[in-house]
Amino acid sequence: MSNNRVSRRQFLGYTLTGVGGFMAAGMLMPMVRFAVDPILQQHDAGDYVLTDKAVADITEEPVRVDFTYEQVDAWYTSEVTNSAWVYKEGDKLIALSPVCKHLGCTVNWGGDPENPTQFFCPCHAGRYEKNGQNIAGTPPLGPLDEYQVQEQDGFVAIGAVRENTLV
């Protein structure tokens, strides 16, 4: 019968493990949350940012459209302005990210006089087709990312960034 009894020492042992476990969890949980939160935040940015660019003004020629939103980085909130290259394909709006897939410089439409109908990266002469397809033989290894884009009351609204769906 005494075998089934929890001895004082065992009891203390159990309790301490329990308390220690709780404490560890208490300490770890917020850390995990901090680590995971920023990742989650990016994804729930599913809402669109309205720009001041009228859809009627968009043609087949890519133009730079800026959009601004608030970004919270730990305790610091800042306004971030990003831009997209927006054009029409038929009636469909297309918005490409200007961030070069090589090392992250900003690409320009027609930035290289010799290739006026391509995107050009001034850093290491990376080039992309109009649909974002990277040109073989230049440093970038993948196509430009694409933004979700829609029309809101006649204006361009930019959504989340995703992998290029056009190439």
Binding site: D66, T68, E79, T81, C100, H102, L103, G104, C105, T106, C121, P122, C123, H124, P139
Partner: protein, 150 residues
Amino acid sequence: MHFNSKDIDLYAGQKDYVDTAVVPLIELDLTDTGMKASAGASEYLQSLTVILEKQFKGRILLLPPISYARAADRSQLGQQLKKELSETAFKHVFYLTTDPKWRAVEELDNVLWLPAIPTGDMDQSFKKSVMEDQLRQVLPLFTKEWTHHS
């Protein structure tokens, strides 16, 4: 790239591509009369270098601003910075400043001196267009350096 541990990890593997260092030089004037202008100049230079970094992220490393007292010996500071940077893999170094005293310093090459524009009291969108205008003046100096000395 920025001078933080994440970007430096990336930099370490891409030294051939990230071949340009950008060093902002900022004079601290903490007198009652000079402080506001000094703060404004610092704000201006830092916004400019941040948008410059965004444009050329894959080719430049933006160092944190070097801030020094009014009485600082520019030529000594210049020599020390130059020495530190000469021991790196950077092929190009640009110093950006609004401090006119650097114009007399011969130790450093590629000092881009820009008159500070007090953007602090402007509204956001005006400020943005002013800064972009400034950026447009600086960009060609970089591309020129890159095409002539690479």
